[in-house]
Symmetry: D4
Subunit: 251 residues, 8 copies
């Protein structure tokens, strides 16, 4: 119940068109009303695109193909674009069965349904340190593109061959926000942050072995960055980085 | 050496006003030239405000008062504003001795010298979960204000009394970016992120005891946020959050 | 040997109906007597339902189907209800072969045999943060129901959409104890604890990825809760939460 | 604004005693109204004793004596009892200066002001494993007593001399809830839980050295308890255990 | 109540010299009787030297000088030897005030009162890796000597100069049990264990810096020893190693 | 080369029966001689049973069946008993093919060949906390039995039903050394150590889930035991415990 | 663009053979030029063998067979030797299909193509502690041999039988650099370092179980070595050790 | 006893100049002789400069000033240079009292006595990332210089201003080995390693706060370096890095 509706209701009370106990009821109901569809195992949030600028996104991890498909339908049938992350083949098949134009991005493990959205103002630069970081980088790219952004990919530009990232200076400088995906020592965000004057979002990946501890080394590397423009998301969370970059690019 | 200088030099070579070996020398020198002042123990970066939109900031931790004062003079005498973080009383005295209008923010442990800077476009909302988180929150506030931003403080709005943060909904919704400072379980960024459609920067603090492990609990809580607009900086890094929020607010 | 039996025995000694060496023997035997059936690989505790108000529960993890079935028979043939947790299909088949009315709860991975038990006094509220937390939530629910409690389920009410849990305020306020199941940042118990005046039992789950570290993030989040009514059980220990909630609900 | 006030307001709207824009204002204000006193550095929660059965408790850690005294006055002047935990001598002096009957419990590091409260229904049993665990045990005891409970202390009953805790069987069996405080290996809650049929709240302490890692060993020991009635609070959190035990004892 | 006392009591019941309710009382009392002196803050175990071959030892850590002195008197006045570990100067002074022949071992931080005890059968070899490990080694030595053992010290024989420990082969081979104290990488127990055919007790110390993590490196090194005769005690637990070695040497 | 051989050699030098350069050679060779058979991938230690009282034991983990069989033959053909730990079915088949009387203990995952050895002097008591700890307990038992000891098994006597272990007091008191195998919170060794006056060897197991962290909780529990007679071996290292117990039982 | 090219260009500018805007272009292009081939998913570094003395090496982990084969061709067709580490059978087949003389080292999991390289000056000694450490030791050996070094292998010389490594003193003393590969407690590098006067490179392996934590114990052991000539590479990083040893051996 | 001495002895035996039992004695004594001076608390290794090319170095940590002075005298009176690391003022005074030309390096916390040593063949480059890393860098420098090396210092060249380290390319390329000292994210070694073809020794420092965890972040960053020429020493171990670099520079 928005302020205008409230004004309308009160006017009708004043004019005697509705009695007070009915108005009490209506006001109480409005306070009780749930802005989401309850599927039992999940509550699909229909107000999110109003509240937050983009619709609810589905984390595929730990959900059955059937659950994913049911949630997907709830989202798409209201005209929203769809993004399911961490989705396997089986989930993709289940969703395609109920939504014709669903697409599966095998590399990025995402299911998408594209819809018209407001375009971001500039470009998002996307760097990755090594070839093995690509799935996470692509998750970020697919997310950002679905949300209306132009993404410039710069892959395999790790710090041990510093000339590789230096070669991209111009592209980096023209971006409005930069996503840097890196495993192992996670040093790339610090170097990139020293080259640009916009926010850098670090995405540590679980790429590595031994003392990389599934991404902890990269995560700590980024959190301790000596550059002051680096903020960090969870290990392997390409999706989150894509969202935040999109938010910044839409400001 | 910028492109215009290069063009000028080459024109003079063409016109025979300068011979080639002198030009070779000049070009080589330009490549060798260091864009920083070398104090032996530190290299003060004079190009940074050009490259990154704000001048070098001094991390006071592990530097002597004397070192800090010397670096401060290098920065201020070129007309730059000054920010020294993690500075104690002794450092403040040393700086004030050489810079008249230096200010010490005891609570935030910062030394500042204010100069005219470009203003950010909107407001930065700044929430903190508990009273003990204030020093870190103030570090973020002092940083952001020095960099030209308007900061709206909302303190002691932790999640265990959820009505406190809900009471600030309007202020939060009107901000261009939100900083959330929290120790203990670090849950506040997730809740705030669900209320706004702009980027949220989480700052875990070392406030707590026992299994808070000096801020690890809060850090992990924020990294694992179920909200997709939260990125995180190092434990107790109010300064970094202030910088990133300012960058976003200047876009 | 209870006090009444002791009194009886001593009366017989006094009356010369039994001589002292026989009485010494009897008393010594009573002290030696094992209140459990020894199966070699396991000791089934027959006094537990007397001592603790509910019979021994079988942790399926690390036991063979055959071992589980043998223990199950020992428990059920004395008229006790049966609960086997962390049980797979194979264990369920083995138990059903020897106990007709055994039931397998596939989602909760539990085998149960229901028997009449004392009913709890009020309701147990059961919240879970995300769809992927359901198996653990259901383990808690099945446990609590078997032990004689009414459980009110509120699923997918995570903190990033705070209105979802706020919508259940009435249900939460009417419960005698609340179980909150959450993975990722584990923030939900703090929020719920701020809404009720009864004990809240937090169950961290291993749901998440990256820096969730198999549930450590959620565990630490709950242990550091700024609310003072939250106590915590082991990661994924829905069963333990169900037991404790039942104990509280029977007080 | 309660339902009755709403009804009153709407009646006046209907009767034309108040015009609609004034009513809109009043309703909006009610939604904005904060149920707490904002001291700038802290928000004192005046509705808490209504919402949760006991007033706001002050965590002394990280607050100045002056801040603590100001918050204390806010709480006491509304007739509430006062509890400040983790308070040092200086804080106690500051509070006593403004509140005549404030008491300092040096051992438990708590400041209290006792007021009439609803009494708990039974006794709370309180065990501690070693002499060094006493400060935390006393924090739990002081908390529970202030909240209206009778506490039975059983100190220095660690598991390496199992006869010591067995000697308290009767006292333990007659309690409505048990708090067990233990450092080092944290094994006592498991043993106690096997002796009673009521909830056991484990409080790991930071007592120990070497591989006790500041209480982690005790914490993990309790979380992994093979007994199903043990839930756990943060390391050294005697206060939390006292609150939860009191809640259970008031059910 | 021993079996003979029970036999006596029952005879008196049979003979009518005592009525059954008194006998019930007496038997119940016997079960309740505590084999320890309760000082409130501590329970001094008087049966321990019977049960375990040596009297209760006092861990000084976390106890006040006054508490230590009171416990010490309880132990010594029954003719037992005294050992207080982790004791500082103040505790020593407090104990000496009440026990004339108490001795303080400053290096080992122990207070002792020597009494006649059963001698161990052979020698205990005691190796330490570096000079900084001596306090812990001496704690082990003082403990073992008080308990009646001959200790052969071999100090500063770390593995990086392997000839140093090889030079002690004869002494090592003639011992009945070996204690090896080492910080840093904790490799010495493995090497020593390869040279002897008796049990080796490893004591990791907190000596080191950086990645020694307060003794974790040494602890893990010893736990992972490729030698099959090494068992390990807590970091810096010289006392425990002395006790176990003494037990083995008395077998 | 023993002292007698040296004496003989020098006599021949003195008598001119051998010239000095040949003697130099012989002495140098003696120093070079390797007391082991080198298989390339492994060095089988033939002097070990002389040096350490029992022959080399083979850790199956990370060796191929073929490598294990070759090492086994080297050991057995010199008349030694054989023990291969962490061996799977395939390794057992490979060994049986070349050694007729090899036995596979499926539960304990060990291959053995029994030979006459010196008998230990008393019994080894072997307790395990839960049914799932049996494989590790059996590894300890098989090891100790092969090395000539009588083992008394007491299984499923965890601390949450303290009467179970108390029922074995007599058996425990008559042992010369006790092995205690426990996962989860690892509390059993402390309790057992309080009941006996001989060394207790704790074996933490990886049994458990969630915050047991693959045995870390049990390991820390045992290392922090408040009993002073507990030493600890690696997680799941039943074999090591069996060896050490045997060494002690042979003293 | 080297200095000579620059000189040539400027001469042509001076002589009017090229106009200044073309020269500006050429100079800018030179700065932009990438010294690598961009395959989209990877940038193959063609200048590396010039810059660093050996060509780019391919980490097979996380790359598809197809990606590996494409990169391999890029490297080999310029006359470089090839090394792919962490390569499985499938990758080997893909590479062999496009490069005739590629070899697969199954044990070391490496693919190599041998080419003439500068020989190292002396020998590299390579010790391993146990049989299970061989795959990592072989990775180091294959790497060092491909890079032109003579490697002397000394396998299964762990510290628990110290005579085994002492038997290799001469070989160790004659090496120019030593690689020591060890899992479990990782003590071997300290012992070896005490025997030689050249650098020792420690390679911790993930061999072990329980508290070896996938190589952490060995890693910490080596980092804390009391010998001052030990430096360490990542867990299981035989390749890195081979490279560094080769660099040292080529000095 | 060297081979020549042995030859001499045997000749005398052959010639009857010495009888065999005396020769046996002499040979046995030689085997017993300890190549170190035993001070009780320490064994000073006199053969080390023969065995390892430089004399024993004293780690000041955990030793008393008096112990340090006694060891220092033992070393210097044989004509060796002296290095005491981690030495405080008090230790320096104690050493200067007994050794006239001892020097204290306050910044590097080292005591040195310089003596003629063999010079290294080239230069050692020494980079540090930030001003706060200087004490550790200086420890490395003092060590390397004492051992006969020329050290080129490049301080405050962290990766967030990549042009700073690029400006030192020539100096780096001309070194024979590089030491890189860095705290926080520890990324500098990777970048430097990509610029040179000689070994790089990484020294992580404990500089940083929050998630730097006392140097763990930097340590992990270096261990996971994507460059293949980086090996690592313990956190803050400047001394070790200086030794290893010197060894390499003397090859």
């Amino acid at each position: 119940m928005r302020v205008e509706e409230l004004r309308l209701l009160l006017g009708r009370v004043r004019d005697g068109q509705i009695d007070t106990s009915a108005a009490v009821e209506a006001l109480s109901a409005a306070l009780r009303e749930q802005p989401f569809a309850d599927l039992g195992f999940a509550k699909v949030d229909h107000h999110r695109s109003i509240r937050q600028g983009f619709p609810e996104v589905v984390l595929g991890l730990g959900k059955t193909p059937d659950q994913i498909a049911k949630i997907a339908v709830q989202i798409v049938e209201r005209g929203n674009p769809l993004l399911v992350t961490r989705a396997d083949e089986a989930a993709a098949i289940a969703v395609k069965r109920v939504i014709d134009d669903a697409q599966y991005h095998e590399f990025a493990r995402c299911i998408t349904v594209t819809r018209e959205v407001v375009r971001g103002k500039g470009t998002i630069a996307l760097c990755s340190a090594g070839t093995a970081d690509l799935p996470i980088a692509e998750e970020a790219a697919v997310t950002a593109e679905l949300l209306g952004n132009t993404v410039e990919r710069m892959y395999d530009v790790g710090v041990a061959g510093i000339h590789r990232v230096l070669a991209h200076r111009a592209q980096l400088e023209s971006a409005r926000v930069v996503i840097v995906v890196a495993g192992m020592e996670g040093a790339l965000p610090s170097v990139v942050a020293g080259m640009v004057s916009v926010p850098v979002i670090g995405v540590p990946t679980s790429v590595g072995y031994g003392a990389s501890f599934g991404g902890i080394a990269a995560l700590l590397g980024m959190l301790n960055s000596c550059a002051n423009s680096v903020s960090v998301v969870n290990i392997d969370n390409g999706y989150g980085a894509g969202c935040i970059a999109s938010m910044i690019n839409h400001l």
